[in-house]
Symmetry: C2
Subunit: 244 residues, 2 copies
């Protein structure tokens, strides 16, 4: 007689082993890119508070420095007098805070700065894994866009099995289904709009650029997935020529 | 003839000086408490990601450790084998990550941990300013609730001029105006529900507790604003006696 109990236990063990071994680069890439996006949002929230708080001290900075990252770095690196000179202010409406009251503001700034550093570290990490796992996609799309494509598609395998027109629409699902349901105008591009060759194209050429880029991306992704040669640079050149 | 140009310039200077000198403890308290709340939200967002990411490595942690702060600390301080022993796991469904793939996860955990540290530092800072600026309120309401009251009220001065029933409703504006407009049941308490004596009261006594606390808070705030003596402990004792 078959020992069902033993069979069951062995089956569970086998299942656990399969789960354990199913972790692959896709998971690392998806987690990293999700984190990069969260870090950007989170840093923005904290930066808004920092700007408000710092305005007690030097309110003129609020409008003069638009970029959040630059704002944080200036707050951390330069003191009030240097900043006033650089912004060409003869006087300020901010009050002189005591060291005790300034300390928490600077502590906040340094935490935000460390979040920016982490974001950059994660980008480097992504670049490193993607350089091995999907070099063609990395070359053609860049780190962030490439990772986002994998994230929207689910995995490199799923992306490789998609037609290029699906890749073109990834991230524009809402607009696509609105088109299919109500006959509104179809979307021309999803997240690949972030690519400089698409985003930078003139308005009436954006659709064409998106289609061409999606074609080349599809080739790159399939080459990566089926372990083909490195053709990223060649694809990029062809694309640039077509878009001239 | 009056020199209007000079008058104008002097007026602007005077206005700027007034603005400069208007910065006071209220601003520090409001900024700090806003930041403490933002930090908690932000840490939660990042923690969710960390949990997901860490689940590639040791998925059994996800459900066993509910508290985010404890989760981050465990990830940082203990390695996989120690954790498995502590959670009494003989095996795990997580895969063994290489050092390179584990590094960004730990980096994220350490940033979250430093956000928690900052939150605690800000709480200490708050306690320090409030110990000088509004000691009675601090004693009666505690750091976070006291600061939140100042934040909702706008400043200690505004709070001191409010009737205690307004203090009782601070933070329940939406429910209050719904009551006034549509005759729905009036709210019994706003943010003072966070006080252990109100939040911990039995359900049918919460309203009474909120009213009594608001009364005492009002006395404490006025004493603070008009630079009275320290009566915080006395008020607290009276309140506890009434709520027995």
């Amino acid at each position: 007689m078959v020992d069902f109990k033993k069979l069951r236990i062995n089956n569970i063990l086998l299942a656990k082993k399969t789960i354990r071994e199913a972790v692959c680069e896709d998971d690392f890439i998806i987690n990293s890119i999700n984190n990069i996006e969260d870090l950007a949002k989170v840093a923005n929230v904290l930066c808004k508070r920092l700007r408000q708080w710092y305005s007690l001290y030097l309110p003129e900075m609020y409008n003069k420095i638009g970029d959040n990252e630059a704002f944080v770095r200036l707050v951390l690196k330069k003191d009030k007098n240097t900043l006033m000179k650089e912004l060409k202010l003869s006087e300020t409406m901010g009050s002189d805070l005591s060291k005790n009251n300034l300390k928490p503001i600077l502590a906040l700034a340094s935490r935000i700065d460390s979040l920016y550093t982490l974001r950059n570290e994660l980008k480097d990490y992504l670049k490193k894994i993607m350089g091995v796992y999907c070099k063609n996609l990395l070359t053609l799309a860049g780190t962030v866009l490439g990772a986002k494509l994998i994230e929207s598609g689910g995995s490199l395998k799923k992306l490789a099995l998609m037609p290029s027109s699906t890749i073109q629409m990834l991230g524009a699902e809402k607009a696509l289904f609105r088109h299919l349901k109500s006959g509104a105008r179809p979307p021309k591009h999803g997240i690949i709009l972030q690519h400089p060759l698409v985003g930078g194209a003139p308005k009436n050429k954006k659709g064409k650029a998106a289609r061409l880029l999606a074609d080349k991306l599809s080739i790159a992704i399939r080459t990566d997935f089926f372990k083909g040669e490195f053709i990223g640079n060649k694809l990029k050149e062809e694309l640039k020529k077509r878009l001239k």
